[in-house]
């Protein structure tokens, strides 16, 4: 089974002389339970690709299919529901809500997810345990270290039990040791739950935790 099909996607930002071609005819397939590393220099279109896959950004042309859902066919409302239930996004800048505790940053999914509050709460507590955050669950983001924040963001992406996890540069603001730990944890969470995942990185050492590597350069995917 394929978890994701990106078919001939092009994304152009702006128009006229400010036009930026961030993705050019990108095509990609991802199997169930496959964890892929997306490698590329700054500005190559990595975040743009994840945003298109995650239903945040409409492609200029081409189609994206996650599971059996074709994203380009979704209404705005359906897109919102898709984001709440079918993908987990770990953003480049963590993006935790500053006035919510570590635990609340994860249970915030309860009112918007299709899962019940009880399910979300149970999964939250389990994830906090697995991510080593139980002792920090009632701390606000400002009271957490960079690694802890990153782990909370990972927890939030997993808590609604999506089939596809998108992770943008999880190690960018962490030192090597901490970065390795976080990626290891992320890989084991994805693998143990049988999910598909894409991790953007430009750190080659992180590649060993993934199944496959795809490179991107100036918006073009170089498979293999």
């Amino acid at each position: 089974m394929t978890a994701l099909i990106v078919d001939d996607v092009t994304k152009v930002y702006g128009e006229g002389h400010t036009e930026v071609r961030a993705l050019c005819n990108a095509s990609l397939e991802l199997g169930d339970n496959e964890f892929l590393a997306l490698l590329g220099p700054s500005g190559s279109g990595k975040t743009t690709l994840l945003s298109v896959i995650g239903g945040l950004l409409a492609p200029t042309s081409g189609t994206v299919t996650v599971g059996e859902i074709q994203l380009t066919a979704l209404s705005r409302k359906e897109q919102t529901r898709f984001r709440a239930n079918r993908v987990g996004f770990v953003f480049q800048g963590f993006n935790l809500v500053p006035f919510l505790t570590a635990r609340e940053n994860m249970t915030v999914m309860a009112p918007i997810s299709d899962a019940t509050r009880d399910e979300i709460e149970a999964r939250t507590d389990q994830l906090l345990e697995e991510l080593g955050l139980t002792a920090r669950r009632d701390n606000l983001p400002e009271q957490l270290s960079g690694g802890e924040r990153q782990r909370v963001a990972i927890g939030r992406a997993l808590v609604s039990d999506p089939d596809l996890i998108l992770v943008d540069e999880p190690t960018a603001s962490l030192d090597t040791e901490l970065g390795t730990q976080v990626v290891q944890l992320l890989a084991s969470e994805i693998k143990s739950r049988g999910k598909a995942g894409i991790m953007v990185t430009h750190d080659l050492r992180m590649v060993e935790f993934t199944d496959r590597t795809v490179r991107i350069l100036d918006g073009e995917l170089l498979n293999g």
């Binding site: 800048g93 809500v97 609340e104 609604s160």
Partner: protein, 369 residues
């Protein structure tokens, strides 16, 4: 609910300050309303709460009873108008009175103690006999207490206070009520040699079930040179009432506008400050409606807390109230003002909701800039 309450809980100081500011402004609204009602009551209470159903003015007096002079002979003409049960003379004279060591103004009303215009109800004491007077209870602050003796300065006549009526001041001056004959004697002593003592008004009692305003019109039509008005119209038509009401309406309106602007701008500032969180929440699948509801909940909580606070302050202020400055927590007023502030503040919150709706969830992915 969840996000709204957590947000307030984690920014107690900010929301507390806003709640406090809204509370003070709502208190100001309540206070201004009470003040305007009190002031108007002091100005026209004697007309608005008169025991006569219809008051007959001299037509050219422009509803100013101090300019209204009627001849006693008109009494029978008015009494003869269909629908009129009884007609009685009302005389008003403002003069200087000495009470204790101090001099003060007193608006003295001569009325038929058993007819329309009589001082009724007597809230304490009894109706006046010869040489006696009942006063409006707010006059206590000027020294007009039951048992005290008023000396009319020009004539040297003395009157003893034997009872109180309520909400019957006139022209912001303390009022006293005594029988019409006594009043005529006072008038003649004040103006020795006056050829005729004029009436100020004629008080009319209308038949059961008749509309006083209609009877008033009937009197105006039937009797030459007079204008009959129900007491509400007479009170509202008193020169000066309009400008007092309008001034207060303006101040209340401005204050109201300030409350709404404060709430609206505060939430807009907070929204802009928290835009990154809102963008993130939308990116992870929160719909705008949920965020809008949570903002509305916050607005409602802030206004309700403010209103509670205002009511508390007003209640504390009533402890210092007295008949000279009556102050009370009027539940209807509190509810009306709160509801009005609530509705307008929620509408002002739409500014913030629009800002949230306009934000692009895709921005969440673009990381730290």
């Amino acid at each position: 609910m969840f996000i709204a309450v957590r947000d307030i809980w984690r920014s107690k100081l900010r929301f507390g300050l806003l709640g406090g500011a809204v509370g003070l402004l709502i208190f100001l609204l309540l206070f201004l309303n009470t003040l305007s009602a009190t002031l108007l009551g002091f100005f026209i209470g004697a007309i608005e709460n008169n025991s006569a159903d219809v008051l007959v003015y001299e037509a050219t007096s422009r509803r100013n009873l101090q300019a209204s002079r009627l001849d006693l002979s008109l009494l029978d003409e008015v009494a003869a108008v269909p629908g009129v049960v009884a007609a009685a003379p009302i005389g008003e004279l403002t003069l200087t009175a000495a009470i204790g060591d101090s001099l003060t103004d007193l608006s003295l009303w001569g009325v038929d103690l058993a007819g329309p215009g009589r001082p009724q109800p007597i809230v304490e004491g009894r109706l006046p006999g010869p040489g006696e007077v009942v006063v409006d209870e707010s006059g206590v602050s000027e020294g007009f207490e039951i048992g005290s003796t008023i000396t009319l300065v020009a004539s040297g006549q003395e009157l003893e206070v034997v009872g109180y009526v309520r909400d019957r001041r006139y022209a912001v001056v303390a009022t006293g009520y005594l029988s019409f004959d006594e009043w005529v004697a006072v008038f003649e002593a004040e103006f020795p040699g006056t050829p005729v003592v004029p009436l100020s008004l004629i008080g009319v009692e209308t038949a059961e079930g008749e509309d006083p305003a209609a009877i008033g019109e009937r009197i105006s039509a039937a009797v030459a040179g007079v204008e009959g008005l129900d007491r509400k119209t007479g009170a509202a038509g008193t020169p000066g009432v309009d400008s007092i009401s309008q001034s207060f309406a303006l101040i209340v309106g401005i204050t109201f506008g300030i409350v709404v602007l404060v709430v609206g701008f505060f939430f807009l500032i907070l929204t802009v400050q928290k835009l990154r969180s809102f963008v993130t929440l939308r990116a992870i699948g929160t719909d705008t409606g949920y965020l809008a509801r949570s903002l509305v909940i916050q607005v409602v909580l802030v206004v309700l807390v403010g209103s509670l606070l205002a009511t508390g302050v007003l209640w504390a202020a009533t402890l210092g109230a007295n008949p000279a400055f009556p102050l009370a927590v009027d539940r209807g007023l509190v509810v009306t003002v709160t509801a009005a502030v609530l509705v307008s503040s929620v509408l002002a919150g739409v500014l913030s909701i629009r800002r949230i709706a306009r934000a692009n969830p895709a921005d969440a992915a673009q990381g730290l800039h």
